[in-house]
Amino acid sequence: MITPSGLAETLLWGVANGCIYILLATGLSIIFGVMKLVNFAHGQLLMLGAYIAFTTSVVLGLNAYVAILFAMVGVAIIGFVVERLTFRKVLGTEKLNEIFVSLGLIYIFENVAVLLWGNKSAQISSSIPGILSLAGISISYDRLAAMGIVAVILLSIVLLMKKTKIGLAMQATSQKSDVAKLMGINVEKVYVFTFALGAALAGAAGALYGIIFPFSPTLGALPTIKAFAIIILGGLGSIPGAVVGGLLYGIAETTAGYLLGGIWSDAIAFVLLIFVLVIKPTGLFGGKGD
């Protein structure tokens, strides 16, 4: 049955889900903008973030929302190591090599997760369970909290990019890495920082995802394609684009699930991807595509 309040609820839930995707997509978008690198293993970083938050909240008995910080730091360290050991070696060679490296990483991340946490699905137990009901629309406190946390993280990212030295260095590198090098910017350092930052965002997204949805080691592939659809929708390398794209995508996903059935909610990412690529390849906010 399609009812007005059901539809409104679907929209609200879509916005909440969209917030998590925004975080993931922003990480992917920053990495792409600065390094011109597409990390296909980004969804696996989300999965690792979810598991790190899960383990810290279980083992240390921490509040699930404090565990998000652990997830960010943990996944940032993984990102740091991965950039140093793998992506740095193939950066600037053939584009296909970067895809191959990401695929190798997908296999490694997924199976390390299986070894450490088993092949069952898990969920982080929330510290603020319960549902807020208002005028026939109900939403869990977790989803509301997720919206707030994403807003805070995004604001700090924007501040970091605009106000700090490393943020400016990142912008310079994204515009023209050769010239940035000439201006005395250590581009390699910027790269590794960017990758770790993008990974940390994926880690935070993972922790939030793990509080709202159950997850398993094989979760990774779909979030990557969703994040990819979002940054294409919003325009490559643009943070406002990722925000708008993420919200639109989140709404499209839950609405498709509500109107057409759950099985379509995942397929919508692909339909959207094709649609945008055919109609407007530069996205809603994109300048020129690279």
Binding site: E94, K95, I108, V114, A229
Partner: protein, 346 residues
């Protein structure tokens, strides 16, 4: 004699005299007599036959990569080929052998449609679109389960009985497919693919219609992927939606890259390596469980995840340290040995 005929003649003459040609003949004879030497039902039908099938599949992926297009969703075409050939045989009684080709053709037709949207895309967009297509193929097949019956799966009607007959059948199919792919890659078409891969802009400037050639590569590649799908369904004797899973999309990529991207022998070498890993490494699972099992209490058998992880590590090592694959290592070793022998003679 026309130019074309002269070209063909000199080409075939060069081919006949070359060392490569002798290698190929020796290789073919070797594959043909292999089952007579080994004489083990298990090895013939569970190791050698899948090697041949995956050789076709990996070669099809490699053909696409030759034009600079890396598909991350080839499983969609493997699955379409498999389902089409099986369903045609079951539902309307098409002879299975004919169904195999129809599977390839239908896969190529879908490949044409997907290719239309893909040909103008950069490497990573293409990867994502193809990957997404595999996801949507899985969704569609599950959605129309009442017609297709893919979720539970069903038995596929066999063309030839299992064992030695099936081995020679796949051998013939693999030999013909690889030969055709070889001829394509050596032809003007293959040259255009390579030009596009090296530098699309320059290729365009020299008058190559890059979109057209990339679409041709897509259609050819998806045809062979569909063919391999039909054969794979024959090998498993069963087909269900799991054929669309990402692992099947990534396998041909790993085979081609590990063996040697853009070469004929690369996908074949990769197929031998990865199918061997799949077939033989499970034997040390109990041993591994005994050694490191206690470290990972979360899983009952540490074998499969460690094996999959190993695949990832091999892929990383090859891409970083030997970007031209094992093919290039063998080449170098061969040259080294030949030089050494020459030195000894002197």
């Amino acid at each position: 004699m026309t130019n074309m005929a002269r070209y063909t003649k000199s080409f075939s003459l060069r081919l006949l005299c070359s060392k490569q040609f002798i290698f190929v003949i020796v290789g073919l004879v070797f594959i043909a007599v292999l089952p007579l030497i080994i004489d083990s039902e298990y090895v013939i039908s569970e190791v050698l036959a899948p090697m041949l099938i995956f050789a076709i599949y990996a070669s099809s992926w490699n053909l696409l990569a030759c034009s600079g297009q890396g598909s991350l969703g080839h499983a969609a075409f493997l699955g379409i080929g498999g389902f089409t050939s099986a369903l045609l045989a079951i539902k309307i009684g098409v002879p299975p052998l004919l169904g195999l080709f129809f599977g390839g053709l239908f896969s190529a037709a879908i490949g044409f449609l997907i290719g239309l949207t893909c040909v103008r895309l950069k490497a990573w967009f293409l990867g994502m679109v193809t990957f997404g297509f595999a996801v949507i193929a899985l969704t569609l097949v599950s959605q129309f389960d009442s017609v297709i019956g893919g979720i539970m799966g069903f038995r596929t009607p066999l063309i030839v009985p299992r064992g030695i007959f099936f081995y020679y059948f796949t051998f013939a199919m693999a030999a013909i497919s690889v030969l055709i792919i070889y001829l394509i890659m050596k032809s003007k078409l293959g040259l255009a693919f390579k030009a596009i891969r090296e530098n699309e802009l320059e290729a365009k400037m020299t008058g190559i219609n890059t979109a057209k050639y990339r679409l041709v590569a897509f259609v050819l590649s998806t045809f062979f992927a569909g063919l391999a799908g039909g054969l794979y369904a024959q090998y498993i004797r069963y087909i269900d939606v799991s054929i669309f899973s990402p692992h099947f999309s990534f396998l041909p990529l790993m085979m081609a890259v590990i063996g040697g991207l853009g070469t004929i022998s690369g996908p074949l070498i990769g197929s031998v390596i990865i199918v061997s890993i799949d077939a033989y490494l499970p034997r040390i699972d109990p041993l591994m469980q005994g050694f490191v099992g206690s470290l990972f209490p979360a899983v009952s058998n540490v074998g499969p995840p460690i094996r999959m992880m190993l695949l990832g590590i091999i892929l990383l090592l090859v891409v970083i340290f030997a970007p031209k694959g094992i093919h290039s290592i063998i080449d170098r070793a061969y040259v080294y040995l030949m030089n050494k022998r020459a030195a000894v003679r002197q």
